[in-house]
């Protein structure tokens, strides 16, 4: 990988479009970090969420570390309520299968799509009794 940008303009555009669509369909906010995390993408993801301030609770950040071939998907406290660990694991699987084939941008787009599909609205219990 040469020094410079991680993605071409077209790849960035596709990822940004997937981010917008995911936000529109699920009501949560998403971002993707791609870079070296010194082998600990989970800790990097927690710091990234922390840097978001008040938006952190309903945010989902995907941390991709191509140097160490590591991935972490972290959801803020409200987002985790909508998006359980099984859904994030499914998105991670769809991402890593593309990453292993050398398609970073395609994997990110697929993963975002999977996350948005599984980010469900929480059930309203005893609604009829209110």
């Amino acid at each position: 990988m040469p020094a410079g940008d991680a993605f071409s303009g077209r790849q960035l555009e596709a990822i940004e479009r997937a981010l917008r669509q995911a936000e529109k369909s699920s009501g949560l906010t998403y971002s993707v970090f791609v870079g070296d995390t010194e082998g600990d993408p989970r800790a990097a993801g927690r710091r990234l969420l922390g840097a978001l301030g008040s938006d952190r609770d309903q945010h989902v950040v995907s941390v991709v570390d191509p140097a160490h071939r590591d991935l972490a998907i972290l959801a803020g406290s409200t987002a985790a309520y909508h998006l359980d660990d099984r859904a994030t694991a499914l998105a991670a699987m769809s991402m890593t299968s593309s990453f292993a084939a050398g398609d970073l941008a395609g994997g990110i787009v697929d993963g975002l799509r999977t996350l948005a599909e599984h980010a469900r609205q929480p059930r309203t219990l005893h609604f009829d009794e209110v």
Binding site: A3, V32, V34, G35, M95, T96
Partner: protein, 73 residues
Amino acid sequence: MSVLQALGLFVAIPLAFLALVMVLVYTPSWIRGPKYRPGLSWWAQPVWIGGGDPAAAATADPVTEGGGCSARW
């Protein structure tokens, strides 16, 4: 056949053909952009798409609650 004609026939035409083949081979990857190759080192600048400045996050307090998962490839 003059020297100029010989140079054109045996040097310029093969070089032009070589250049054409190189353009045809490399054009698809130029259009597609940089390609990640698993196992090779990664030198690109960190990028946080949809977020803020990745450098600012280095000093942020990490969150302690929430969910998620990790994976390797």
